[in-house]
Amino acid sequence: MVITASSYRTEAVFDYSWKNVVVAYWNRYPNPSSSHVLTEDTIQREVRDGKLYSRRLLSKTNPVPKWGSRFYNNVPVKIVEDSVLDPVAKTFTTFTRNLGMKKIMRVDEIVTYTEQNDGSTLAVRRAYISSQVFGFSRAIRAFGIERFKSNSNKASNGFDYVLRRMFPKSQSSVHHSASPAAGATGAFAAHQSELSVATTAAVPNHTSTIKSVARIGYDFMKCHASKIAQLFSVRN
């Protein structure tokens, strides 16, 4: 079976050194944007070849209303975060994905934190969404991706808050660009986030009854897909 994924890419620049960013990273919960994060545990950690490998388990509350629990379990969601931190090359990469509910939606996020020449830290976030729900996979992916797009401006606010609090002397701001062409070399143009999935799915135009039923189903799915995508994401 071929499972297609939709992807989205954003960038954020933190006006903090890479060291400050990685120190703050382990302390980023709780923050004002993380009320949905319930628990956080380190379940594996080791130094190998001078690099720090960590695996953490996060649980997040489910924002799905009660009537949605018919369609999937209304229990806290578990997210696993693997990371590799190279203190010499000054790179830090995190890879997160949801445990369970993967048939409905699987959200994988890869974030790479690297030091830039001006001393700030660039975070490149890539999200991949796939779904195996027959007939709706495409729409679910599209709606999931929409969530990433619409929220990209406040994507790292929670983390930025933690940075400001831990390192108050530094300038406190984070710049986002969902289209990385800004402030980057021309090569980045090719990286521009693209979404090739149609966002209008399953809206037949035969009779008005079918239309309205489809509309309700569409809105329902859109609402849920975007909520699930948010749930499985660890941006804040």
């Binding site: 297609t4 939709s6 120190v23 545990d41 388990l57 693997d82 445990l99 992916r141 693209e194």
Partner: protein, 86 residues
């Protein structure tokens, strides 16, 4: 931040404090010896693993590989085109 096991909160707090100081004072300064927090980590792990068992959290499906390198770039199966080099 809380632990997944309520009774592990205190251990987690102690381990996190140990790790944070080791991380910024030792590791980032080039010392890779991680034994400093090993004892508290072990106790904390016992507690967390027990809590995970009790809550039937299975890590089997992901197991032990650290796949931080993106598997996607190899497969090229995505319909949203990603042309990212990392």
């Amino acid at each position: 931040m809380n632990s997944i096991g309520e009774d592990c909160n205190e251990l987690k707090k102690q381990y996190d404090a140990c790790f944070n100081s080791w991380f910024s004072e030792r590791f980032l300064k080039g010392h890779t010896d991680e034994s400093a927090c090993a004892p508290i980590f072990r106790v904390y792990q016992d507690c967390v693993k027990r809590a995970m068992r009790e809550q039937k959290i299975e890590l089997r499906e992901i197991d032990t590989e650290y796949t931080t390198n993106s598997e996607y770039e190899k497969t090229g199966s995505s319909s949203g085109k990603q042309q990212s080099k990392s």
